[in-house]
Amino acid sequence: MRRVRLLITALTLLLASCESYDCTLYNYVGLYGSFYRGGSAVAISDTLTITSGRKGIVLLNQAVGTSSLNLPMSYWNEEDTLVFSIKGNGYQARDSVWIAKSNLVHYESPDCPMTLFHTIQSVGSTNEFIDSISIIRSSVNYETTENLRIYLR
């Protein structure tokens, strides 16, 4: 009986001390978009730079041959303003894109990094080289499928 008591006490202490962290491994939250012209997907052969409006934080720097986007969104802003600048041989163009969204804290555990998910409510843009933008999937979370389709002129 004494041995049984010792064994059970040891097991109880062991169970109380075990712990594992089950954090999501791929925990990047990004806005995914693709470029289209005339109903088919295209790549922008010119140099494309994307900055966030107010602070001018560079989100994409002088990318060439871009066909899709993967951009971080702000945690707390209700609207993100992005500036798309393209530069080619002897010309450049700039468009502003507004993305209105709601933000939702995503919390898994004290040991896992906290992040924010977003729901895109509306999108608008100027029309220098962008024709229109349509929302394909409004939820911005860990999924990596297309959120926006950007139609070029």
Binding site: T12, E19, K55, P72, W76, N77, S109, P110, D111
Partner: protein, 246 residues
């Protein structure tokens, strides 16, 4: 006369004094046979209601005193039926204060929980020791707080304290396990149990996963738990074994 001819001889053939003697003899035989059966019956049959017991889980109180990440402090009451079936009700308070080592995220809750179920005693001898099969249904409706004092946006560079207080959740689960129990002194017993917990349902706010469920433990589909109970057993069941030893 014809009506009385049912056996080898008729009742009318037996004289009245003899009839009374036979009746008395028959009554005596019945009485003797009843007396002979009584002690056997007492030995074989246990009373249906064998006693009641109240208990407290020492592990939870020790964990709380040791400032562990979480603790389930609980008391329980049970009825002893036939020294075999023990319907149990457990009531407790789950407490958790947890801060992520590297993230700065904190989780806290203090909320009640309850469990109902049955212990089945496999030990057929009434020697003071019991070996239990354990089944429980558990339930908790609780609120929890999540916070991070310096929550920062890595790309846009904003840092702000984040507080989400009073998030509501409810959980239901089942527990299966085994337990042993032994007599320490008169009506005081000590018991241990190991249980496998299986979460049935969890309703929670969107985006806020509770780290801890009061009464269940760390939030997961399943888990293990253990108790060490000090039990105060009142009733026939607690005293019978000591009488039997004498």
């Amino acid at each position: 006369m014809k009506r009385q001819k049912t056996c080898g001889y008729t009742c009318a053939d037996v004289p009245t004094g003899r009839r009374t003697q036979l009746l008395l003899l028959l009554l005596c035989m019945i009485c003797l046979s009843l007396h002979a059966e009584e002690p056997q019956k007492k030995k074989e049959k246990n009373p249906v209601f064998y006693g009641v017991a109240v208990s407290a889980d020492l592990v939870g109180f020790i964990m709380k005193a040791a400032d562990a990440k979480y603790a389930n402090m609980e008391v329980a009451a049970r009825i002893n039926l036939l020294d075999k079936f023990f319907p149990v009700a457990e009531l407790g308070i789950g407490d958790c204060r947890r801060e992520g080592a590297e993230t700065g995220n904190t989780f806290s809750t203090t909320a009640p929980y309850m469990r109902f179920g049955l212990n089945y005693n496999f030990n057929k001898k009434h020697n003071g020791n019991r070996l239990f099969g354990i089944f429980r249904y558990g339930f908790s409706s609780f609120k929890f707080d999540i916070a991070n004092e310096s929550f920062s946006d890595p790309v846009y560079g904003t840092t702000a304290p984040l507080h989400m207080d009073g998030l509501k959740a409810t959980a239901q689960w089942l527990e299966f396990g085994i337990g042993v129990e032994t007599k320490l002194w008169k009506f005081i017993r000590l018991g241990w149990s190991a249980r496998y917990n299986m979460r049935l349902a969890l309703s929670r706010p969107e985006g806020g996963e509770p780290y801890f469920i009061p009464g269940f433990g760390k939030n997961d589909d399943s888990g293990w738990g253990g108790n060490m109970n000090i039990i105060f057993d009142i009733g026939k069941g607690s005293f019978k074994s000591s009488k039997e030893k004498k």
